[in-house]
């Protein structure tokens, strides 16, 4: 098996693990994504308002219904991500600093299996074993988004240059101080990249939450498909895609702002 960190690092080629070396400037380029999203939404709105909607579609394609679904979707996403951050980051730190190789291996193995598990499987299994609804969906999201944050936290702490660590200890810092003042700040970009991935995962899995009555925009997609109402399906799908893009963009923005200067 290739060294875990190497394969992990390379595996993270999916999302940026390498700290972004961007300048924090309010340029036009930075706002490309939101602008594109706004344009898409405008086109969508224009298209829908030009359609003759039948009664079924009208029940779905109105502001109340849509805002409710968006609210559910965002709630799931944000709460789950917050939980993941609170749980996975400390565990990641503990694992990275743990002297026990066995512990590390077990944690990573479990996390790997977690990632290999399909989100839809986790959601439906939990629903069968336990109950359907919001809480179950939340738990499923947390399980699924756990790995990127855990792994990135570990890598982030590990990749702090040994020389930096050594000179910090040489100055007389305790291990705890080294952690809080040196390692964590240096690991922040990588951890944030993991959180960003987790957020995007959560938006995606929250879409599937519709299958277990947890609400969210997935409802529109599934209804649209089931009832063969194309406009409903399109609106649901485009909306959730836009939300995903916007959340990813906001996360990227925050990443840049929070990254310590000099990195």
């Amino acid at each position: 098996m290739m060294s875990t960190v190497t394969s992990d690092t390379q595996l993270m080629a999916t999302r940026t693990v390498v700290p972004p070396a961007r300048r924090r400037v309010f340029t036009l380029k930075r706002f490309t994504t939101p602008i594109v999203v706004v344009v898409i939404l405008a086109v969508l709105l224009w298209w829908v308002s030009s359609l003759e909607l039948d009664s079924i579609e009208q029940r779905t394609l109105n502001w109340d219904y849509i805002t409710l679904r968006i609210g559910e979707h965002l709630s799931l996403t944000v709460v789950a991500s917050a939980l993941v951050a609170v749980l996975a980051i400390p565990l990641g730190v503990a694992t990275a600093k743990s002297p026990s190789k066995v512990f590390r291996a077990i944690v990573l193995a479990l996390a790997n299996i977690g990632q290999a598990t399909p989100a839809v499987g986790v959601v439906i299994l939990l629903a069968i074993l336990w109950q359907t609804g919001y809480t179950t969906a939340l738990v499923a999201l947390v399980i699924y988004a756990f790995l990127p944050v855990l792994r990135n936290t570990m890598i982030g702490i590990d990749q702090v240059d040994a020389n930096v660590r050594e000179s910090a200890r040489g100055m007389g810092m305790t291990p705890a101080q080294v952690l809080m003042r040196i390692e964590l700040p240096l690991a922040v970009p990588v951890i944030l990249a993991g959180l960003r991935t987790a957020l995007v995962f959560c938006v995606g899995v929250a879409t599937i939450a519709t299958f277990i009555n947890a609400g969210g925009l997935g409802d529109m997609i599934v209804n649209g498909l089931k009832l063969q109402r194309y406009p409903v399906l399109v609106v649901g799908a485009v909306l959730v895609a836009c939300i995903a893009l916007l959340i990813d963009w906001v996360a990227g923005f925050i990443e840049d702002i929070v990254t310590p200067r000099g990195l």
Binding site: A13, P118, G121, L125, V200, F211, L225, Y230, A241, A244
Partner: protein
Amino acid sequence: MNGFDLQGLLTFWSRRWDDILELALQHIAVVALSVLLATVIGVLIGIAVWNRPVPRSLTIAAAGVALTIPSLALLALITPVFGLGWTPTVISLIFYSLLPIVRNTVVGLREVSPAIMESAKGMGMSPAKILFAIQLPIAWPIILTGVRVAAQLTIGIAAIAAYVAGPGLGQFIFQGLSSLGSKNALNFALSGTLGVVILALLVDGAFVLITRLTTSRGLRV
């Protein structure tokens, strides 16, 4: 709600093992086909843009967008056009696979050291020859990692594709959902999910093997 009945699960497996196997094979097939196509397309795109900053960042941004869109949304969006079953599944899977592959191809090609590039040029190799004889072999492990990531992604997404009648173990998972409350619901869902997990682990292992076999000994760390 339902308790876990091991005996029932084993009986289920003994009766349904051929179904499970068939679905597993379908699952692998659709993933393999999609990843293979995505590799060809992705590496070609990577070769086309690795050297050109503007097309390069545009391409990677576009591929990144694809990865951000929730899979159910994408699948649903293309069904009106492509129908149900294999076609929308393969198309979506290719879409999702492109980012890791394109990005890793670009990174791999760019990371070949300038000294190597210059000595190759100084020896009289044309840019095309340098690309195929020097850069691609050296970048190969990195590209292969991108393919591996893509494979892992698509194994999971293929499970969702069952909702639009896509092939594979996802069908069992959704059957578990639709038979919620019956005694076999758990067995269906569990079998489907476990099957996907096992497939993912097997495929990952296969990739480690393939990487080792196809990487030049001079490059292995």
